[in-house]
Point group: C2
Amino acid sequence: MEALLKLLEGLEPDRPGVATGEDGGPAAGAGDETSEFGQLSAAHGPRLGIGLDSCVIPLRHGGLSLVQTTDFFYPLVEDPYMMGRIACANVLSDLYAMGITECDNMLMLLSLSQKMNEKEREQVMPLMIKGFRDAAEEGGTSVTGGQTVINPWIIIGGVATVVCQPNDFIMPDSAVPGDVLVLTKPLGTQVAVNAHQWLDLPDKWNKIKLVISKEEVEQAYQEAMLNMSTLNRTAASLMHKFNAHAATDITGFGILGHARNLAQQQRSEVAFVIHNLPIIAKMAAVSKACGNLFGLLQGTSSETSGGLLICLPREQAARFCAEMKASRQGPGVGVPGPDAGGEGQQAWIIGIVEKGNRCARIIDKPRIIEVPPRGTVSEGNNNSTSPPPPVQSPPVS
Amino acid sequence: MEALLKLLEGLEPDRPGVATGEDGGPAAGAGDETSEFGQLSAAHGPRLGIGLDSCVIPLRHGGLSLVQTTDFFYPLVEDPYMMGRIACANVLSDLYAMGITECDNMLMLLSLSQKMNEKEREQVMPLMIKGFRDAAEEGGTSVTGGQTVINPWIIIGGVATVVCQPNDFIMPDSAVPGDVLVLTKPLGTQVAVNAHQWLDLPDKWNKIKLVISKEEVEQAYQEAMLNMSTLNRTAASLMHKFNAHAATDITGFGILGHARNLAQQQRSEVAFVIHNLPIIAKMAAVSKACGNLFGLLQGTSSETSGGLLICLPREQAARFCAEMKASRQGPGVGVPGPDAGGEGQQAWIIGIVEKGNRCARIIDKPRIIEVPPRGTVSEGNNNSTSPPPPVQSPPVS
């Protein structure tokens, strides 16, 4: 759920706003969060306002809570169907970040572009809507309404709503020193999407062509699309099984921005330290070649519909990753991509929770884990496609 | 809630789509509805999908239903604060049309215009947000989140959500012959907004200057703003008290479009016949002077955040109107506009429900009720500012 905070701040001086990072902007799109954390009310259960990924509203009925989130943005991939899937996965992800696996209702927010003619609209919009609806169906919900307008730019997004019992969601505030940080999708979607656009822009392409081939750009782009359109639902389900202490999803503020937001919500005095950066293959090199334009290695590159960043008890993390990998992909669980072949999702232990003042940082020389496109064979001893072995666990400081 | 139907139709050939009228477009903005009516499920309570004003989703918990709606559009008045109020009133109106008086949560949808500079944004957006939040507060709810993007055009809207018990809402399907139709705000907002813009466009102004003065345009515009920003909450509350059989709110399809949509949802074989058209003073003349450009007298002129059109038992309607008029305006009830002076809202009996084939029409020469601006003294024998006297009740055919 996006940062209305900057705008609302001016109206509510008592609101503790702490938006770090910056908006991904129209190109990268994704919704972003801020870190105002709602008050806890013993009488009515937890309340989470304009804050992390979803708002949580205690209801007047039987201890139930309303959890909802909205996100909308502009297309960032060329395939309308995949764009629809990504938009829906991105909205649902805010629920999944709270360990919620069900969604009671989805509304779709759409604008048609006034720059498209009737024929273009007829070709593009139904595909985009179908992608959105298919992803909603995978999430066990359906689209029951929405709003459509005409606008200079295409907009797609949605509103996900669920009514929960107290045990259905995990408030993102219980990380403790000794936990580890797990990430469930690789980073680099913004770089991959931009590199793909640069194939047609000689000036831009010349800057990166020494470090990557056109085929590799295409592969990275496909991998990014696949990742962005994958639901974080399996991860949400496993958060309960493995006793997750807190989580958020990675979108516009990048891994570091969201890690910082999450750190600030914790009840214990903790700090998040990131040691490993799993990145779509070659995207680290591309980011370096264009002068760290994106801040990918600094953790500030926007992601769209990124993975969950989860604080897990150390002894549970390896099993969490193993079960992610073993999970059956398919309707209701994740995206059955053409390359997924029934395999689960990779997840990585990327850092640790230590004692600190509710901040987050990346170590000086983080280990870059090159994540090869799904369907390609892992090369040599690069074990990044296997369940995370002990060597990937950073030392407890 | 806007018509996604046309787009969704292509994907679901079995969906009975019946969108009448046309979208109000970006200028008039308002969300519009279609008339697919969801199936009734005895086990889980009524379900209303992409249909009338809100969707109704049976929940997994204790007979509760999730009712929600979304609407967003482009500014149509110059005052940012009033624009914010109008946008919020317009979203809430979809709940009020179902007789719902509470709202558990409001999300705000916003885009900043890329054409505004930083200073303009800082001046305009906080006012717009404040207006939205103030109206939400009047509706007894608050804004807990939302999404903001950058766009060529400013967008403002929201998502209203409530979890209801079965008695909290009135399904809009129970009109019977003998009912009368009541309307709770005058028509003509689109004409007033356009006429006001024409003050600065000589070509346009010349077409209407013979029938209206600049002062009258200004008054009509202020009256339109006041009406659009008035919550339909009092009407929603009185729907229960006076046993309303069905209702909808008047937005982008105009009075006739929405009357048709509502007629099509009825379980009984009924027809809606409209005899009276309460219209903001002089707007009928303006509409005629520019060649029925808007279709105001034909009932097809878009309205934004219009009144409720309610089917009431005939014997209850006059008392409904009287209580609307007597209702105390103020926070939690309606908009305490500078001219409202503690007075309630006007409502009019505008037509009848007779036996028919679920259609709606306006009689050949409807009576035009000129509604003077609030705060001005009613002239002569024009009794349109008084509670509707018997002469306003159309004869039962």
